[in-house]
């Protein structure tokens, strides 16, 4: 590797050719503030348009200041990162940004997490010398995401996530100059765009321009209503990240504290989406084995690979982009929706509560779940199986609001029966986890043999696209895994072209799977946080006494008492769904 020697603030630094000045400076322990720059290390995600100009530095011999994030080092380069010229330019740039920004930090959803606020604080900005007109734009509220473009600083991170990483293409810059904003094509609302509500734009937005729709108020109202039985389910990835909001180290598992907090918030029953994840494995695993068996027996009407369908962002993505392949994904509903369907039938009957008097709340690492629970096909006579969905961040906010001392809270268990779960369901939170859980069950059902070792390490990792062949006792099963919709698109294009060799593919919309979901605590580009969450999830799996979904005693009981058999008639009615062609729904002229 060719090495380059340069001088940064009188320090000699040696870095590989192609390194940026920013990274070289960081290597030398010199901090250069950034704003539009964003990186998520292991995911190949990088945004360096060089647009905000906060990271400008002086490079000897150059007429103008250069953005450290986008300037490559050169031999003998002499860089000054904090002389008066640089500091004045940076400060003026931030003052300009704030001069075109609402001053509503007190009530902004991003307050405390806002990178513009951080920089203003760091620079000690106390007044704005350049007052003038502010750019204004209508607020756009979709089922999951709120766009408040007045707060947009044109960092274009959302655009990069949406276009390059997710290949969704819902957001891009429109208009010119002072009127530039990031918006869907033709300045339509997000609902009329191919947006999947994956929420990755929200995850990376440095300000309050993109935030999730807040359902907390509805839940407080429901909890206060004595005629309602309010129950809650919590998704696997939430327990691996919630603690971060209370200052705990990333990767701290807070399952017990979370259950205790939810009970203190007033939820009558605190259940676990993991239970429904085990149920998903029963249904999806059975469906996989059915399809596989028929295919191996020469039934050409069967389509393979089967695609997982737990991730609502992913479901939206294929409904928009691959409408000709709607028969490929598993028909199994997502765990959130399976939970709702079972809660409002099986469990409601058990406790003698009418469907309409039960409110089901989900705590999700995801904001697409807010949209998913509002889909018409998940309602019975207008009453949704899941009423409200809160993100991990909203739950943390809710707990703080209720003055619960989360850190010192004694741990508690989930309620029964919908709180019992296995290690297989916990790993749903990681990329590769769903398919690993499915393999644990499908292997044993197909071969009739016990697995010696339940871990399938070949399915784990952080690479965007992974593949592995699992030996089902002589039958090689080819598995594909993708996280990030851009990676998913590659696998799907192969399937469409008839070039895919896979029997089953797991897809998660977000980087790292649900642990990197759009509703999780902001990682601010620190990929080590995602890795720590992933490791925590696998630790939780190891610690579980039962690690295979089909061995979950309450699942077995559920089939015995209520459902009959996996993929049976009742399951088909309650636990399976169908998909819609949404490719024609976008960009329809608004009234």
């Amino acid at each position: 590797m060719e090495m380059i020697k340069l001088t940064i603030d009188n320090k000699i630094v040696e870095v590989a050719k192609g390194t940026t000045v920013l990274k070289a400076a960081r290597k030398a322990g010199i901090d250069i503030p950034t704003l539009c720059y964003f990186e998520l290390g292991d995911m190949n995600i990088e945004n360096k348009p060089g647009g905000c100009r906060v990271c400008v530095v002086q490079i000897e011999g150059r007429k103008n200041l250069a953005p450290a994030c986008a300037t490559e080092v050169a031999e003998g380069m002499i860089v000054d990162t904090h002389n008066i010229r640089v500091l004045n330019a940076r400060r003026t740039v931030v003052e300009l940004m704030i001069s075109d920004h609402p001053y509503d930090c007190l009530i902004c959803a991003k307050s405390g997490n806002c990178e513009l606020q951080d920089i203003a604080h760091k620079f000690g900005i106390r007044e704005i010398p350049y007052q003038g007109e502010k750019s204004t734009y209508r607020k756009d509220t979709s089922p999951s995401i709120i766009r408040d473009v007045d707060k947009c600083i044109m960092c274009r991170r959302c655009e990069m996530m949406c276009n390059e990483f997710q290949t969704v293409g819902a957001l891009s810059a429109v208009n010119r100059g002072f009127n530039s904003v990031v918006a869907p094509a033709f300045e339509m609302n997000l609902e009329k765009s191919p947006c999947t509500y994956c929420g990755q734009c929200v995850s990376v937005c440095p300000t309050g321009a993109l935030t999730e729709v807040d359902h907390t108020r509805n839940i407080i109202t429901a909890l206060a209503d004595k005629t309602k039985t309010v129950i809650v389910q919590t998704a696997p990835a939430v327990r691996a990240a919630l603690g971060e909001e209370f200052g705990m180290e990333a990767g701290t598992i807070v399952t017990g504290k979370m259950a205790a907090a939810l009970r203190r918030l007033g939820f009558k029953y605190v259940f676990d989406t993991d239970f429904a994840a085990d149920l998903t494995i029963m249904e999806e695993g059975t469906e996989l084995l059915n399809r596989l068996g028929r295919s191996l027996n020469g039934d050409t009407s069967v389509k393979l690979p089967i695609l997982t369908s737990c991730c609502p962002g992913w479901v939206n993505f294929f409904e928009h982009n691959f409408p000709e392949m709607l028969d490929i994904p598993s028909t199994a509903k997502s765990p959130q929706q399976m939970f709702g369907a079972i809660a409002k039938t099986y469990f409601a009957d058990k406790i003698g509560v009418k469907r309409n008097d039960m409110i089901v709340v989900s705590i999700m690492p995801c904001i697409a779940k807010k949209y998913e629970c509002q889909r018409d096909e998940f309602k019975v006579d207008g009453n949704p199986d899941v009423d409200y969905s809160l993100s991990t961040r909203e739950l943390a906010q809710f707990i703080k609001q209720a003055n619960i001392d989360f850190i010192n809270l004694p741990e508690e268990d989930f309620d029964h029966p919908l709180g019992e779960s296995t290690g297989a369901s916990v790993i749903f939170g990681n990329t590769g986890g769903v398919i690993e859980a499915a393999c644990r069950t499908a292997y044993e059902i197909h071969t009739g043999k016990k697995l010696d070792k339940v871990e399938f390490n070949e399915l784990r990792g952080m690479e965007g696209i992974r593949e592995a062949t699992i030996d089902f006792d002589g039958l090689p099963i080819n598995i594909g895994i993708a996280h990030g919709l851009g990676n998913a698109r590659k696998l799907l294009d192969d399937v469409k072209a008839g070039k895919s060799k896979f029997h089953a593919i797991e897809i998660m919309a977000c980087p790292g799977g649900c642990i990197g979901g759009g509703g999780q605590p902001y990682h601010h580009g620190d990929s080590s946080i995602l890795k720590k969450r992933a490791a925590a999830i696998y630790r939780e799996d190891v610690g579980k006494p039962i690690r295979k979904s089909h061995e979950n005693p309450d699942i077995i009981k559920l089939y015995d008492e209520f459902l009959g058999k996996p993929c049976g008639e009742k399951s088909h009615h309650l636990l399976h769904t169908h998909y819609f062609d949404k490719s024609t729904e976008v960009f329809i002229e608004e009234q």
């Binding site: 348009p49 647009g51 103008n64 003026t92 350049y130 010119r176 002072f178």
Partner: protein
């Protein structure tokens, strides 16, 4: 042109076109038919002659007589007097002084006065829709020469030696750019012609494409041969329909003649050209923004490096040159690098086309050798300031250039001197201002343009220029303070220093150069709230001189906001709180009783 005895060349340039030169053509045609002369006299629509203030202009060849032909009566007089009587229609002829100064007259090439026409050599002299005309005038000779006698590197060396620098404004050495692109390794390279002329009032590229499209095609092919590219793209504004039409005709003709396409002139060189249309965004003149626009992306610049010569259109090495740069290439090949380098200054060789506009007598297009002074351009070629007023400033380099003053009139014009003076060459706009122009308002006018045309990508340009504009607005409203002037300065420096592309890096130039050269005008605006040119209405007062006023009531009757009161035959009074300073009263007053202060 052989079968006709005489030719009427009608200017189809943008100014004459908007002065309805197409109607002049039909008028002339009708009279030629009436007089049975249509077999003898041919009418050709050409491009700009450069006499934009006198349009619609026609040139009769081979007599070399220029007429202004506005009405059917003019057309009749020209045909009857010039062709039938054999005299001249003296009343309609352009003044000798004007022709001497600005002419595209071929004679001038032989005996250069102030102008030397290289890029504009054929404009107005040939039928741009006829490839034979171009070939008769030495067209495609350079391409043939290069393909037969020179290898690519030798060709690049000629361009390098000529000292030609980019005429789009940046002034980067053209030969060096070609060389860098030629050394980039790739399976496909591109030659791009930047025809996204965006400076207000500039129309040199348009005139070349309308008047001599083959010169650009020929040069692009030469460039393609030199750098190893087989594909050429012309990025042209969709608002230039005539240029597009003529370019399309020219490309089709060149293909037909085997001068584009496969195996050109049997030398095994393949090259073809396609058009790409711009939607009129000023920033798309910046080469990276232009390339993104051609790729179907948002037209906004990206950080360099990588330079287009390494990674450009579709990620392939791309050489982007401006129309005027290309138009100079065939001449350099034909006449030699030494000849070209003998014109101009030490670091800026050859000629530059300027679009003269503003308060100048001879508005139009000129091509002058580098090193000419502003004084020669404005007072000799341009015929001085209109209405005998006093020269105040000249804005060069378009909206991102600077205002130069009397003190700069004798500076030889070249890339480096203009930058040293606080302005720039730009694409060659030159707008002349007289004593009636308020320099704060001038700066505001240009900022208005850049605020509109900023792509919005980087903060200093997107928000900074807006704030600059707002501060200038405050000052022209009479509400400015000395702090505002400090803010103007700091903001201008930061925008220049920290912006991403050339647009932002130069957009404060009008502010900085007017602050530098007209400091006292700014101070007057903010301290005594006075605009010496009476342009800033907010600071003006219309006052009726009671001594002069006879009480005729004309002013009061014509005031649109009823701000004027007074009894008949008694002096009137203007209520300053109501007055909107429209000036209607001044126009109506027959007694010069209303003064503006």
């Amino acid at each position: 042109m052989a079968k006709f005895k005489k030719h009427i060349l009608v200017c189809g340039g943008s100014t004459c076109h908007s002065l309805q030169s197409h109607i002049a053509i039909s008028n002339l045609k009708a009279i030629l038919v009436e007089k049975n002369l249509e077999q003898e006299i041919q009418i050709i629509e050409t491009a700009c002659f450069g006499f934009c203030s006198s349009g619609p202009v026609i040139l009769i060849l081979p007599d070399n007589t220029y007429y202004k032909c506005t009405s059917p009566a003019d057309a009749r007089m020209i045909v009857e007097e010039h062709f039938i009587s054999g005299k001249k229609a003296y009343d309609l002829m352009l003044a000798e002084s004007q022709i001497d100064g600005l002419a595209s007259n071929p004679k001038l090439l032989a005996s250069p006065k102030k102008q030397i026409r290289i890029a504009l050599r054929n404009c107005g002299n040939i039928d741009p829709e006829n490839i034979n005309d171009y070939i008769l005038n030495g067209g495609y000779l350079a391409l043939g020469k290069v393909l037969k006698e020179r290898d690519p590197q030798q060709t690049i060396d000629i361009i390098k030696k000529s000292g030609l620098r980019g005429r789009g404004g940046g002034g980067f050495p053209t030969g060096l750019k070609w060389e860098i692109t030629s050394k980039s390794q790739a399976d496909q390279k591109y030659v791009v012609c930047n025809a996204d002329e965006g400076d207000p009032g500039a129309f040199m590229d348009r005139s070349i494409l309308e008047g001599d499209p083959h010169s650009v095609i020929e040069a692009m092919a030469i460039c393609g041969y030199s750098i190893g590219a087989s594909k050429g793209l012309v990025y042209i504004r969709a608002e230039y329909p005539l240029a597009i039409t003529r370019l399309k005709i020219a490309i089709a003709q060149a293909r037909e003649y085997g001068l584009l396409g496969d195996n050109i002139l049997d030398k095994g060189f393949d090259f073809d050209i396609e058009l790409r249309y711009g939607a009129g965004a000023f920033v798309c003149g910046e080469e990276t923004a232009l390339i993104h626009s051609m790729e179907g992306m948002r037209g906004e610049p990206t950080f360099k490096p990588p330079f287009p010569s390494v990674s450009g259109y579709l990620g392939k090495p791309t050489n982007v040159n401006n129309v005027e740069t290309f138009a100079s290439i065939p001449v350099i090949i034909n006449k030699g690098a030494e000849w070209f380098a003998s014109i101009g200054t030490e670091k800026s060789k050859g000629t530059k086309v300027f679009a003269l506009a503003g308060k100048i007598n001879n508005v139009g297009l000129i091509e002058v050798p580098m090193g000419i002074t502003l004084r020669e351009i404005i007072f000799e070629i341009g015929g001085g300031i209109q209405n005998g007023k006093k020269f105040k400033a000249v804005q060069t380099g378009g909206p991102s250039g600077g205002c130069l003053t009397e003190a700069h009139l004798d500076t030889p014009i070249d890339y480096d001197n203009l930058i040293a003076a606080g302005s720039m060459m730009g694409s060659g706009g030159m707008i002349v201002m007289d004593e009636d122009d308020c320099m704060v308002s001038v700066a505001k006018f240009y900022l208005d343009f850049t605020v509109e045309e900023s792509c919005g990508k980087c903060t200093p340009c997107r928000i900074g220029n807006k704030r600059l504009y707002e501060i200038l607005e405050t000052i022209t409203q009479g509400k400015g303070t000395m702090q505002d002037i400090d803010k103007l300065k700091n903001l201008s420096y930061v925008i220049k220093d920290a912006s991403l592309c050339g647009l932002g890096q130069t957009s404060p130039n009008p502010v900085l150069s007017t602050l530098e050269n007209f400091w006292e005008e700014y101070i007057e605006h903010v301290t005594v709230k006075k605009c010496r040119s009476s342009q800033c209405k907010a600071m003006m007062q219309y006052i009726i001189d009671a001594e002069q006023c006879v009480g005729c009531t004309a002013c009061a009757r014509n005031c649109p906001v009823n701000a004027i009161t007074g009894e008949r035959k008694l002096a009137h009074l203007i209520n300053q709180d109501i007055c909107i300073k429209c000036g209607a009263c001044v126009e109506k007053c027959k007694f010069n009783a209303i003064n503006v202060k």
